[in-house]
Symmetry: C2
């Protein structure tokens, strides 16, 4: 079995740790930028052949140990009747919703057939495991309310606090669509699912439990046969809660915690992460090697560790640094 799925099971005992990067098929790759001259981001996301082509780019070039379906956590919002587009330099733009009633519920799998077809193509071609993914309900809800990227989710938190009942209704609607979406991806053939709660870090402890964790739990408990990774920004403070998810999931940690410390607290959980994406962006080759060595030393002989960043790779990251990262991991024979 390959390194990635072994580490997901906590059974990667006689080898280096697997490595892949969140957003590994993206702007930092010249091949990707070339494709983007011909196609819009949405154009790439909606075409099965292009999904497969882009997903494979970083595998072919860097030899990552897992591929992640090229897509975006917000595409699902179209199945809820939302208007979504992506603007250069601004990211996703959604017509903000004012109430849950404005959402519809199109069957997700037929509406997102392009993703399922992309996954099937990839499964014919790939030599490494394929990770499917979805946004967590809290994070997707925040985009629906804010209408795009926002610094501190003021509108979302105001809605959540002023009207928790309707906020829960919104989360339920998103959760149901998300479960359908994940079910479709699994049927199409993905080997693993990663949930992204990228905005959970704005929440208080109590609110995390009520508005994020509870929905992660509902989703995770639907899928007992496939390995699941949960990524939160905020996992550095929410990790002990995330470790209570049943069945147990792998936890993808942001870059603020000391992995060795988390390992002590969670001796068996598969841990993924957690290099600072800014290191890969701005450091010299020597610094990258040094930082990676430090992380690998902390996680030495760890059978349940997946090397990754603490968040997505940044668009202007030099490819030399990605090579430095991968070479350092590859030469690490444990």
């Amino acid at each position: 079995m390959d390194l990635f799925l072994k580490a997901m099971k906590g059974e990667n005992k006689k080898s280096r740790p697997p490595i892949w990067l969140m957003r590994q098929a993206g702007r930092y790759m010249p091949e990707y930028r070339t494709l983007r001259e011909k196609y819009s981001f949405m154009g790439l996301c909606k075409h099965p052949e292009l999904i497969a082509e882009v997903t494979e780019l970083p595998i072919k070039r860097f030899g990552f140990d897992a591929a992640i379906v090229f897509s975006d956590i917000l595409l699902i919002t179209e199945t809820l009747g939302c208007e979504l587009h992506f603007e250069e330099g601004r990211g996703p733009v959604i017509t903000p919703i004012e109430s849950v009633d404005s959402l519809v519920h199109h069957p997700v799998v037929p509406s997102m057939q392009f993703v399922m077809d992309g996954i099937r193509l990839l499964k014919e071609r790939l030599q490494v495991p394929l990770i499917g993914f979805a946004g967590a309900p809290f994070t997707v809800a925040s985009y629906l309310i804010e209408g795009g990227v926002s610094r501190d989710l003021k509108k979302t938190k105001r809605w959540m606090i002023e009207n928790p009942e309707s906020f829960h209704q919104l989360l339920q609607v998103i959760k149901r669509a998300t479960i359908e979406y994940i079910q479709g991806q699994i049927e199409a053939g993905v080997d693993c699912i990663q949930l992204f709660d990228s905005w959970a870090h704005v929440l208080s402890w109590n609110h995390f439990e009520e508005f994020s964790f509870r929905y992660l739990q509902d989703i995770v408990s639907e899928f007992k046969k496939i390995p699941i990774i949960v990524f939160c920004r905020g996992s550095s403070f929410f990790y002990e809660k995330l470790a209570q998810l049943e069945p147990q999931v792998a936890i993808s940690l942001d870059w603020h915690c000391d992995m060795a410390h988390i390992r002590k607290k969670l001796p068996k959980t598969t841990l993924q992460g957690n290099l600072d994406p800014d290191i890969l962006l701005a450091a010299s080759r020597e610094q990258v090697v040094q930082e990676v060595d430090l992380l690998l030393e902390k996680m030495k002989d760890d059978p349940a560790f997946i090397c990754n960043l603490g968040h997505g790779i940044l668009p202007t990251t030099p490819e030399e640094n990605v090579y430095a990262l991968i070479e350092t991991v590859h030469k690490n024979k444990i």
Copy 2:
């Protein structure tokens, strides 16, 4: 002795917890807004009589258990030769520095005599302890580099990673000025000092140690006779490190952690916090009472707990909610 200083010593044994709020003299108070019609923010900050008047506003109205000198962590940058002003709705604006060489070092205490004079006036008038404060070097450096509020401190982190030597030089310059500034405030009469590392939460574990913690340690070790509180956004993940500061400090926690959990990890440290400022902003009176009761229940009979928010009170917070918070704390006879 009063509740606040008792709790700072871990000796608040037979009473309710003390309460004060970060930024308690601010826009949410109509008296403050009236003053701001006559004076600019900087005008208020630089006039000893006005400093004293504004500092006292929330004590007179709400009966908080401690006052905090009305000022801003960035005023000190003027003693380093920086151009600083405040723009409505935008916050602080500083001409960004390109190198450490562009900084000068005016003697801090004479340059900030207005603060010292404000403190002396307050000490004649106040019935509650007075908290002086300063920004931590990392946070002040970030404003010098970004030129104002920034979402993720990209320029700061790039400088820090690309040129750690000159970044350390910058931190040293700010640290020296900060030590002078705190010394001046202590001589003028403050009863406690709070350090604000408001942007530490963007740092990785290693970088926090190298670029934030080390400087906090240098500052704290200069002042062995006065109680010190260290506030970080990011204290939810850095608290075990902060607890290593010597002499021991009180830790002001952001709103992401469970106070009961932190208390188990740090049985003796004075803990301050940690209500979500958005609760006070957007919740109903009943919700505020409920959230505060929850926190008070967690910290019941705790002799080393100071009730506060996890960050500054927000400008449009309804005063009714501040009253609800205070009344709930006041009726909590432990």
